[in-house]
């Protein structure tokens, strides 16, 4: 009997999660006795994800690895899953502590917050105004990064002035409108930071259309394959991301080890994640996978072929 692991994503179709699924399949092959169910809603809402989880519980999967649309709303249903003996971990976008056995952060939250600011600051030696274009106002991970960025701003980047944070809801039309609004309201804007793969593309397209290449730098978190074009045309100098393939790989690896009782999730434990290495759980049973990786003109070509 194989171990059934469900990889539940925020929404289907997103290139980031498709890449994570690649990693998951890789881990499954490596582990040998694993079946992957790659699933999720098409609209990134908590309610839709709950229905998905309910059907997974009914299918008696062995483990659920979820990237959650809402840190709190999924807790009850995931608790129910654990009561029925299912291993639950969250990855990428976490759920509150009671709702999972462990959480795998793609990277350290503080580090991501610092990175997104640094990406902008690196190209603004004189300092200046920057704005953040985020995903939905309820996205757990984005909010955490933005908080971290705001905290670090005054001490490490005193010349950078964060003038606004707006939300494009991971909807390209809304992100476009919001990015346009930013350009209009802040004529001196030097950079738009979009820590979301949808928002960053929209912002770069707006900057390209408005002929502001060279004046406004777009940066944030982007998938190289989707974003190469904007590094090439100069609307962006550099973006960052972690490897989604590794993330999916690690999530499945952890879920498997917990499900077969090979490991136990408790604070301080060090767990193996196969070829990616090892992680150590903190007080809230979360771990960070790896530091974010930066893409610019020098390496985007290569990575855009991978994910």
């Amino acid at each position: 009997e194989n171990v059934k692991i469900a990889l539940v994503v925020k929404s289907l179709g997103n290139g980031f999660f498709d890449a994570a699924n690649k990693g998951a399949e890789e881990a499954a092959k490596e582990l040998g006795d694993v079946d992957i169910i790659y699933t999720g809603p098409t609209k990134a809402t908590a309610e839709a994800q709950i229905e998905v989880v309910n059907s997974l519980i009914a299918q008696k999967v062995n483990a659920i690895a979820i990237s959650a649309n809402d840190a709190d709303a999924l807790v009850p249903v995931l608790k129910k899953a654990m009561e029925r003996g299912i291993t639950v971990i969250s990855w990428d976008s976490g759920v509150a502590k009671e709702g999972r056995q462990l959480h795998l952060n793609p990277s350290d939250t503080g580090l991501i917050g610092e990175t997104i600011i640094k990406l902008a600051a690196d190209y603004l030696p004189e300092g200046g105004e920057v704005a953040i274009l985020s995903a939905s106002s309820t996205a757990t991970n984005q909010n955490a990064w933005i908080d971290a960025a705001k905290k670090i701003l005054p001490e490490k980047f005193p010349k950078i002035k964060l003038v606004a944070t707006v939300y494009g809801d991971d909807d390209s039309a809304k992100s476009t409108d919001e990015a346009k609004g930013l350009l209009k309201s802040y004529p001196n804007l030097k950079a738009i930071i979009a820590p979301t793969t949808v928002g960053v593309v929209a912002a770069a397209q707006v900057v390209t259309d408005a002929n502001l290449i060279g004046k406004v730098n777009v940066t944030g978190l982007a998938l190289p394959s989707e974003f190469k074009k904007f590094i090439d045309n100069g609307s962006s100098q550099a973006v960052a991301l972690w490897n989604p393939i590794d993330l999916g790989y690690s999530a499945v690896y952890l879920a498997h080890d917990l499900a077969v009782k090979k490991e136990e999730a408790k604070p301080g434990a060090t767990l193996s994640i196969g070829r990616v290495g090892k992680v150590t759980l903190d007080d809230s049973n979360s771990a960070a996978m790896a530091p974010p990786f930066q893409f610019d003109k020098t390496n985007i070509e290569k990575f855009s072929k991978i994910y």
Partner: protein
């Protein structure tokens, strides 16, 4: 009726000017011609969609599937472009119109042949068309990277200093103006809305006219599909999700009566502009984006209240002295 309608449109136009004035007090650049032209361009797709919805609403029907049609057709042209970048854009537009037409015709046939209320038919196809997009694309998105430069550039090219997208909107507005005021089809559309029974007696084929109307809204949905995708450079299942309500809201604000028979091209255009200006202005005048929804909701309610005031019939006046007064 003419004078009355004009009055309504003038009133709406005045509201828009006041709105622009108000915004300018907080953000002086807003009323500059260049910016206004940009607002027009930003609102073009909504205007086009509102016109397509208008002809449907005039016949006492409704098309809830327009946004899903847009999503599906957009995905079709995006995938085509990704697979065969050599297909010229005009041909792609024709394909978009044709795909939209087919989707609209499906709605129209169900309404015409089976006599199912349009709200039910399009409530069904609203989910079916969007679902079909998922099946078609396998859930994958088509990103900017996969689209050809012509695909993205076409609507952004400037003609006489104005982007092609704006020209397309102007052309569509002109076509609808002729359709509604100068053709027998246009008159039939109004007549059906005013009194469907009488239309049957007057020799109008009500079912067939409704079919045509859905074909029109379908084609509009298809055209907008290309425009939308090449504007926002991403094709996914979530494109324009929930946008059907914005389209209807634009019509309602534009004074198009949901009960059919009342409304004009000018009204639909102004209604769309009104919404476009609000969504354009909020970010610039620094109102928290969280206010946007409540503001546009209030605007809709206000518009309905005012329109109802205008529509309220004066009634016959029997008393001589009351008539004189």
């Amino acid at each position: 009726m003419k004078a009355f309608l004009k009055y309504r449109e003038i009133w709406l136009a005045a509201a828009i000017i006041v709105l622009i004035g108000l915004i300018s007090t907080r953000f002086p650049g807003f009323a500059e011609p260049g910016n206004l032209a940009q607002v027009f361009n930003d609102t073009s797709i909504l205007m086009i969609l509102a016109l397509g919805q208008m002809v449907v609403i005039l016949t006492r029907s409704i098309d809830l599937s327009m946004a899903s049609n847009l999503c599906f057709t957009g995905m079709v042209v995006a995938m085509l472009n990704a697979a065969h970048p050599a297909i010229p854009i005009p041909l792609l537009i024709v394909i978009a119109l044709a795909v939209g037409l087919v989707l609209g015709a499906i709605n129209g046939l169900l309404v015409w042949r089976l006599n199912i209320p349009s709200i039910v038919v399009t409530l069904g196809t609203l989910t079916i068309y969007r679902g079909a997009t998922f099946v078609l694309s396998g859930g994958a998105w088509v990103n900017a990277d996969k689209m050809s430069p012509e695909f993205i550039g076409f609507q952004r090219a400037a003609l006489l200093g104005i982007p092609v997208l704006s020209w397309i909107a102007i052309l569509v507005i002109a076509l609808f103006f002729v359709l509604m005021t100068r053709t027998a089809l246009g008159r039939s559309i109004y007549a059906i809305g005013v009194n469907p029974t009488a239309s049957v007696y007057a020799g109008i084929d009500v079912g067939r006219t409704k079919f045509i109307v859905f074909c029109i809204s379908g084609m509009i949905g298809g055209l907008s599909g290309y425009l939308w995708i090449s504007r926002y450079v991403i094709a996914s299942v979530e494109v324009a999700n929930g946008y059907e309500l914005n389209i209807i809201a634009a019509c309602v604000i534009g004074g198009i009566s949901i009960a059919g028979g009342i409304g004009s091209v000018g009204g639909a255009v102004l209604g769309a502009l009104f919404l476009g200006i609000i969504s354009n202005a909020l970010p610039v005048i620094n109102i928290s984006p969280f206010w946007q929804m409540a503001i546009s909701g209030s605007a809709i309610i206000l518009a309905v209240v005012l329109n109802a005031r205008g529509e309220r019939q004066k009634g016959r006046i029997i008393l001589r002295k009351a008539e004189a007064a």
